[in-house]
């Protein structure tokens, strides 16, 4: 299963509710003409992940990850992965920030040696434009460049090897804007350096704009695997399950989520296609209160 679905959930918690409330407050064409635009400050509760603890299926503690932030709890500074029996982390990822942008991620092994490092670059609009990876000896390992359109949506990703030779190109196609007004990617096309398609991913969304399905297609268009996402019907509509389906539609893996009041995942239970539990992950958060200016009309 993927990290991405949970991240979407967290993003949705922070933004969707807010954006939706903005959208629902906007004046409609048939509204009475006398309404006046006003602003007010509201508090948005944002769950910030601080600890992630994994267990084996028999309940034995596997490992835990501690996330450390700056004093404002807005910028992730360090992610430490621990074996429960060890005092020092098995892996540390230290993030470097510059002008509010993530400048680098440095990965350290259990002996404190650098495993690899990512250095990020941005375009004038503040979109991620490059990601350069170097190994523990500082030698270039690979790199990526990204292009975005005027709206800031990623439209291309290129991967280069350590010598700077193009390895792969990925294009992103967008459909109609979602409920939040943001364009949603519907087709991801992966190609080799010569332009031959190596695979595509089709994405589908529900009426509320949430990702509900991802189909992975072979170059000939046949489905290789799919991911299906389900959400709680009640607000805030948190992700409750992810299923990985084989080409024949049978379930290969499944993850079920128990969520908190803010929709944050508290417990994730992974099982295989037969339903046998393979592991459980528990998440702990701090809640950050953000003051947000809300526009409304009356």
């Amino acid at each position: 299963m993927r990290k991405i679905s949970v991240t979407l959930l967290v993003v949705s918690l922070g933004l969707t509710g807010f954006l939706a409330s903005c959208a629902s407050s906007a004046p409609s064409a048939a509204a009475a003409p006398a309404k006046v635009r006003k602003e007010r400050t509201i508090i948005v509760h944002v769950p910030i992940l601080v600890k992630e603890t994994s267990y084996y299926s028999d309940g034995q503690l596997d490992q835990y990850i501690v996330y450390k932030y700056d004093p404002s709890d807005k910028f992730l500074l360090e992610k430490d992965t621990f074996d429960p029996s060890q005092a020092s982390p098995m892996e540390r990822v230290v993030s470097e920030w510059k002008n509010g942008q993530l400048a680098a991620d440095v990965f350290y092994d259990r002996d404190g040696k650098i495993k690899f490092r990512h250095d990020y670059g941005y375009d004038a609009a503040g979109n991620l434009a490059s990601d350069r990876v170097t190994d523990g000896k500082g030698q270039p390992s690979s790199s990526s460049t990204y292009k975005h359109d005027a709206a800031g949506d990623k439209i291309e990703w290129r991967v280069f090897d350590g010598a700077g030779i193009l390895d792969a190109v990925t294009d992103y196609g967008y459909g109609a804007p979602g409920p939040g007004g943001k364009a949603q990617p519907v087709l991801v096309t992966m190609k080799d350096p010569g332009g031959a398609v190596t695979g595509t991913i089709k994405l589908a969304y529900g009426p509320d704009g949430k990702l509900v399905r991802r189909d992975y297609l072979n170059p000939d268009g046949s489905v290789r695997k799919s991911e299906v996402y389900s959400y709680a019907p009640a607000a805030p509509g948190a992700l409750v399950s992810m299923e990985l389906l084989r080409a024949d539609g049978s379930v290969a893996e499944k993850t079920l989520y128990q969520n908190g009041e803010l929709g944050q995942a508290l417990v994730a239970t992974d099982s295989d296609g037969s339903g046998e539990v393979r592991g459980v992950t528990k998440y702990e958060y701090l809640i950050r209160d953000d003051k947000v200016t809300q526009v409304y009309y009356e």
Partner: protein, 388 residues
């Protein structure tokens, strides 16, 4: 397990991380198509940092291929890169707990000479709970424990991986080799690692520990009993091990004065455990009597009296009563001395702690015997008051 990227990080670095699945797809293809070792290594790094368990089958196949093609990388520069690549792949397979890769990981342990590769493959086997390999890892560590390897650093690194694996596998068979690693020839770091791992391997290590107490040298018997007392075993099992250690410590003939001291330490540790855990019942009593009568020094004899007092049951009270009456009889016969007085005072005080009515006659006898000092007589009166 999944990774949750914090909200702000996501928002601030744009949407790149949000659409991660094509990332996995792209890097997976590049990894599979990598022509040479350096490309393979670079793509492996890209792939594993995505922390996406769906890549595990690809990595497992890659490990099998790397093992098959090992002879192609015989140059020194290739060897280092080869080891690094296998290590990256092995670590990821362990993190993803991809059990299907266990045979390939064990092959890596056996076939690749680099001890760091062996260690990482062992650690991965432990992390994925590859219990089918417990026995083999036990044998591997037993072999290393036996004597230092020609290259000590080599043995240390492999042992470290095996200890970690056995800790994760939580198989009772792993207890003994890890125990021997904790007292073996290794550097302090590895010995400490083994000692730290011991309580995590099995909650109740009493059975393997009693085997160690039976068969090993006196100094190791002491360390084994300490490990038992530090374990998560229930108190009744700790008492069982202590009684057993006490019996062995009394039965063994010391090889030399140093060995005699170690055996005495074993008995004292066992007696102390009987006191701390308030071992009751008849089983420990004959061994306490033996230690009182034949103790290596006064400390052992005093501990034996305290163990009888903490026991408090009828057999223990009867034994204490006999000891007190014998001391009183000697006192009346004029056989006195500081040591006897110390023993008498301790026996009387422990009789009070035992609180068993069977002790009253002996205490009354002492209290009525004017041959004792005022201190002993007062102790007897106090003990009598403590018995209902």
């Amino acid at each position: 397990m999944k990774r949750i990227v914090p909200l702000l990080a996501l928002l601030l670095i744009g949407s790149t991380l949000v659409f991660a699945d094509e990332t996995t797809e792209v890097y997976k293809r590049l990894f599979l198509q990598a022509q040479n070792l350096s490309q393979k290594y670079a793509e492996a790094l890209n792939l594993v940092q995505l922390q996406d368990p769906s890549v595990a089958p690809v990595l497992s196949d890659a490990l099998t291929q790397l093992l098959k093609n090992q002879e192609n990388y015989s140059q020194p520069s290739d060897k280092a890169l080869y080891s690094s690549t296998v290590r990256v792949v092995a670590q990821a397979l362990g993190d993803y707990k991809y059990l299907d890769a266990a045979p390939a990981l064990w092959d890596a342990v056996q076939q690749i000479p680099d001890p760091l590769v062996k260690a990482d493959a062992l650690i991965a086997l432990g992390k994925m709970h590859a219990t089918d390999y417990s026995e083999r890892i036990v044998l591997l560590l037993q072999g290393l424990d036996f004597k230092p390897t020609p290259d000590a650093d080599y043995g240390e690194k492999v042992a470290y991986g095996a200890i970690f694996a056995l800790e994760k596998l939580r198989d009772i068979k792993g207890f003994s080799p890890v125990f021997f690693a904790s007292v073996g020839w290794y550097s302090q770091r590895v010995r400490q690692e083994a000692a730290r791992a011991l309580p995590n391997i099995v909650d109740d290590p009493t059975d393997p520990i009693m085997t160690i107490i039976q068969n090993e040298s006196s100094d190791r018997k002491v360390l084994a009993l300490k490990a038992e007392l530090n374990s998560n075993a229930p108190n009744d099992r700790k008492i069982q091990a202590a009684v057993y250690a006490l019996s062995i410590g009394q039965k063994m003939s010391p090889l030399d004065p140093a060995d005699a001291r170690q055996l005495a330490n074993l008995r004292k540790l066992a007696l102390n455990a009987l006191i701390v855990f308030k071992a009751r019942g008849a089983d420990p009593v004959p061994y306490c009597i033996y230690s009182y009568n034949n103790g290596y020094d006064d400390e052992e004899r005093l501990l034996a009296l305290a163990a009888l007092g903490a026991n408090g049951t009828d057999p223990a009270a009867a034994a204490l009563s006999d000891i007190i009456l014998k001391l009183d009889s000697d006192q009346q016969a004029g056989v006195t001395g500081d040591t006897r007085n110390r023993m008498a005072k301790a026996a009387i005080e422990n009789a009070g702690l035992a609180g068993n009515k069977l002790l009253k006659p002996a205490l009354i006898t002492v209290a009525a015997d004017n041959n004792w000092s005022d201190g002993i007589l007062a102790a007897a009166q106090k003990a009598l008051k403590a018995i209902p």
